[in-house]
């Protein structure tokens, strides 16, 4: 199967400080890919860079291909066609992601006009259909309201409706549930999963919430300090994490079943991009690190079981014992 998006050696620096150190990433048509990692590891920057949405102080290099189109270095007009048309993006804080002084109907219709040439009554009809599709009650009555008259969850639904307006091949959901209440989070995740199935649209789900990722995604990339450190099928990574960082993310999750055990946080914090360790960026926080890890950086290598891994001394490939697996992995099979 040909890839929908191919990212090769994508690098980003802000004011000369590199924050993304060569990302290789493929998205297949219709698949759901999770990007996981702590704040500041480069999950969002990867996609903002791919779509040319970073501020001008950022320098971007590498290649981003969308089907036959090369997005890296593409002229602005071409990128504007892709944005919202073939790749749509929704963001973390839905309440501030909608323009506060424009009616939501107008914001929806704007996307419909840009990507599907709809104006006037047909645009309004389609906007109402989209609002209904994402679960906004009484779309007709709320078409002419402003964003502040909607709740956070509803704003995110509106964002999703706006993203769907261009009938994209790929939806980038950047922490779409982080700012929402737990019950609303579940509804939005369900909505995203349902829409992906109905519209056969690939989804990249950027999150630090492993439970949410497990629920929605088929494949997961774990990122740390601007690099991918482990990548593979969601079941594989969740049952048998091999990178100590991936494992650490799971150990820091609360369990819903089994005996109460203390959570194991990952000690330390994400390193400062201006001052990265010489070897593996995770080595200073890693319980398994040896001398080699502090001096040499391991590359991302494909493993026999299909995953890719960047670790010199990974955890054993044997299945993890039951009490270390995350409680919420049930979501994978649901």
């Amino acid at each position: 199967m040909t890839n929908l998006v191919e990212i090769r050696d994508l690098r980003v620096a802000f004011d000369g400080v590199p924050v993304l150190h060569g990302i290789d990433l493929d998205v297949r048509p219709g698949e759901a890919l999770g990007l996981v990692g702590e704040s500041g590891c480069g999950k969002s920057v990867t996609w903002l860079a791919a779509l040319g949405l970073l501020p001008s102080k950022a320098t971007v290099s590498g290649r981003v291909r969308l089907g036959e189109t090369d997005l890296s270095g593409a002229p602005r007009a071409q990128l504007e066609q892709v944005r919202g048309g073939r790749i749509a993006m929704i963001f973390q804080d839905p309440s501030s992601a909608l323009n506060p002084v424009l009616k939501v109907g107008r914001q929806l219709c704007e996307a419909l006009k840009l990507h599907r040439g709809l104006t006037g009554a047909p645009a309004k009809a389609e906007a109402l259909r989209l609002m209904d599709l994402v679960g906004i009650p009484d779309p007709k009555g709320r078409f002419a309201l402003y964003p502040h008259e909607f709740s956070g969850g509803q704003c995110q639904r509106l964002m999703i409706a706006m993203a769907l307006a261009g009938e994209p091949d790929l939806l980038i959901a950047d922490e779409p549930t982080t700012a929402l209440d737990a019950t609303i989070q579940a509804q939005i995740l369900d909505l995203l999963a349902r829409l992906r199935a109905e519209m056969n649209m690939a989804t990249v789900f950027i999150s630090h919430d492993l439970g949410a990722v497990a629920q929605v995604c088929e494949r997961v990339c774990v990122m740390y300090a601007g690099r991918i450190v482990e990548q593979g099928e969601v079941g594989l990574l969740f049952d048998r994490p091999r990178h100590p960082y991936t494992r650490g993310l799971f150990d820091a999750l609360p369990r819903l079943d089994g005996p109460r055990v203390p959570l194991v946080p990952i000690r330390g914090t994400v390193p400062d991009p201006r001052n990265l360790p010489r070897g593996c960026a995770f080595a200073p926080r890693c319980a398994h690190a040896r001398d080699f890890c502090h001096s040499e950086r391991p590359d991302l290598h494909r493993q026999q079981d299909g995953r890719a891994l960047a670790c010199a001394y990974p955890l054993p490939a044997a299945p993890a014992t039951q009490d270390t697996a995350p409680a919420r992995r049930e979501g994978v099979h649901s």
């Binding site: 779509l51 504007e80 944005r83 909608l98 323009n99 002084v101 402003y146």
Partner: protein, 308 residues
Amino acid sequence: MIAFVLVRLFRAVVTVLAVMTFAFVVLRMSGDPAQVLMGPDVPQNVVDAFRAEWGLDAPLWQQYISYFREILSGDFGLSMRDRSPAIELVLERVPATLQLTIPALLLKLCIGIPAGIYAALHRDSAIDRGVIFLAILGFTIPSFVMGLVLVLIFAVTLHALPSGGIGTWQHALLPAITMSIGGIGILARFSRSAMIEVMGQPYIRTASAKGVRWHDVVRGHALPNAAVPIVTIVGFMVGSVISGAVVVETIFSWPGIGRLLIVSVANRDLAVVQCILLLIAAVMVVSNLVVDLLYGWLDPRLRAQPAH
């Protein structure tokens, strides 16, 4: 929406009343018109007669009440100098002042706002730095210095423009420019920071992410949001079209409200000063009222919370 308007109307009326009261009291506490008008050597009985004639011998509160009664019946009093109605003296000066302040206002808007927005959109470029530098220069140099420098260059050295007085449009050029420079600087700075703030908001990224063209992002998504803080400053400038010319009119011997105010204060011409202050307050209050209503129109979030 009705509550929004009513609250602001009420506030406007209170403000005008406060200004009138303040002007009335301070003028009467700070000097005696009879002394100023007639000089120190006039016999006491003449002074007393003058006071009685103008009602200055009554207690302050009685003067205040009769002043209000007269205002409410449309009588703004007579000038003590030539006994002509104060309101006429004031109103006949208004066109001269507006001849300076309205062109100055247009210059501020047409130069200050675009310069600020352009600088914001090209942040940290040479043009941006140039705009910031000129803006700071513009509003830190006092208008009397700026006016004299312009006179020195264009009137004294180049003989290109008249240095003062009223007559042709060339006479208005130097005073109007002098008056506009500070405002251009303030507006450029304000528009720039408002625009930079807005361009960093998540909804601008959303608009770009959905494929809106760059110019339409700026025009359709950023400008309507940046308008609120800019309108605040513009409202203040519109409010000072009557009062903003005091210094510049004096430098350029321009027979407008500002000069009349200075002369009348010096002469303790109570009715004229009160009349000017009332006019200034009314214009300022009306322009603030319009700004408040514009807020509600520009930002739907402000419509929802009328009283705060």
